[in-house]
Symmetry: C2
Subunit: 246 residues, 2 copies
DNA sequence: GGCGTCGCTTGACTATTGTCATGTTCCCGG
DNA sequence: CCGGGAACATGACAATAGTCAAGCGACGCC
């Protein structure tokens, strides 16, 4: 199998139109003029990764921006003691590594495929040279970066101000399309990862799910039923200090 | 007093050279060509704020990038229940609001002066027009933004992987100049804010300080003595699960 | 088709943190 | 110099989350 760079980091493939279409719809590219998009697509490196494969590791220096076309990718940090902190989880149409790629600094996190993945890598020199011809590209990159910044801020707020069960409730609510009545959703990746993403242990996640039964949530394998969305939202935003019935 | 825009948001003042010098050394400006720096300085709005004064609030739309010249500023989020989550605390030479200013989107956080402050505001139109002439500006802004991103990632890791006392230990270590032997530092702002910044209640911070006595830390008012920096670092990075002597 | 691994759940126990109440000290304004 | 209030410390208690251990069940591999 053709290993690019001779490293065991993903197998190269040739992009089909369907894959390019996904890339075009990504937050990073969708607001750029077509001409630039085509340039970027034609210089991109396309790879697929198996579940568990490493995409890059902390401290490695950044050479590309990554756009997920299919599958799920987690960004995480290892603390000196070996504890893993999941920083974010990305899927189809999302991109990461923007701010790092342009500065040639080391990644602050590691990235790993948590399911089979297809990823498009845009080499940073391509991006930089294009940016010199059109500052609009810079704005686009800033937009993506800001989205990440925003999501990190939200996570911080949640960790600091909510209990585990409440964070799980918000997680479920984000999965729902509708915003009232009942809803059924599939959990997008396994519970161990969900636990990590929400800053808790798998055991605590299990218990959080049990607790949510009281506010009309039923979990079966990776399938979740929410009987009353507003009720769940109330729970998620309620003050843990108030003695909520229970 | 001359309220700019007729709002009660800071008093305008005319910048002295000393203040401009601080601005020039800020991460945001220091790598830019002199010519651009002068343009930005000459278009900047200079204001001072009293302790407790609001600089901007969440949801307000961003119109400028902010550079702290003196004093301390906190960025925080209010959860629906009224709990406050401190996202970051900035001081002399640091800037915030870069990513938001360029997109004209609402701030995800509120900003408040926690001590008397002097702040330089660079209106975003000035920045944007300059960016169109020189994409290097975009890179500079991305650099600042990346620094914030990185610090948020570190905070997330700490919150997810360390106990309160360990976070306090890291906080103290960041305050030290030296990296071995003993050290004395002043706590830069009051303990309530430190507690917020580290994601805990003031009571927990008090207890964390007591605990740190066991690893050679003495706190007296806002003065801290660390008798052995490597020992403290070991403590901060040790695994809470291991039964560390105690 | 059996079997082992791994993800997941549950229970018992411990540790950490938040909450509430109380008391001290310090700072600021009369 | 004397209150009054805010910041801070401390104790008792409750709630929450982590740890350890055991057990279940699905999936893949031989």
């Amino acid at each position: 199998m053709g290993r690019v760079f001779g490293r065991t980091k993903g197998d190269a493939f040739v992009a089909h139109e369907a894959q390019k279409a996904i890339a075009r719809q990504s937050l990073l590219l969708k607001s750029l003029p077509d001409q630039h998009v085509e340039t970027l697509l034609s210089h991109a490196i396309w790879r697929q990764y198996d579940r568990g494969e490493t995409i890059f590791v902390q401290e490695e220096s950044a050479q590309a921006v990554h756009v997920v076309l299919a599958g799920w990718v987690k960004l995480f940090r290892m603390s000196p003691t070996g504890a893993e902190a999941v920083v974010s989880v990305f899927t189809r149409g999302e991109s990461f590594g923007e701010a790092v790629a342009l500065r040639n600094v080391p990644y602050p996190v590691s990235a790993e495929a948590v399911s089979a993945c297809e990823i498009m890598h845009i080499p940073s020199p391509v991006l930089i040279s294009l940016m010199k011809t059109d500052p609009e590209i810079g704005i686009s990159i800033l937009a993506s970066t800001f989205t990440h910044l925003h999501s990190l801020v939200s996570q911080l707020e949640q960790l600091k101000a909510q209990t585990g069960a409440q964070r799980v409730a918000e997680f479920l609510l984000n999965l729902c399309d509708c915003d009232e009545g009942a809803c059924e959703v599939e959990l997008p990746y396994d519970k161990m990862l969900i636990a990590g993403r929400l800053g808790m242990k798998p055991e605590s996640l299990s218990r959080a799910f049990s607790r949510l039964k009281a506010v009309g949530v039923k979990i079966n394998r990776n399938h979740a039923e929410i009987s009353n969305i507003p009720q769940l939202r109330d729970y998620a935003d309620s003050d843990p200090a108030d003695n909520w019935g229970r």
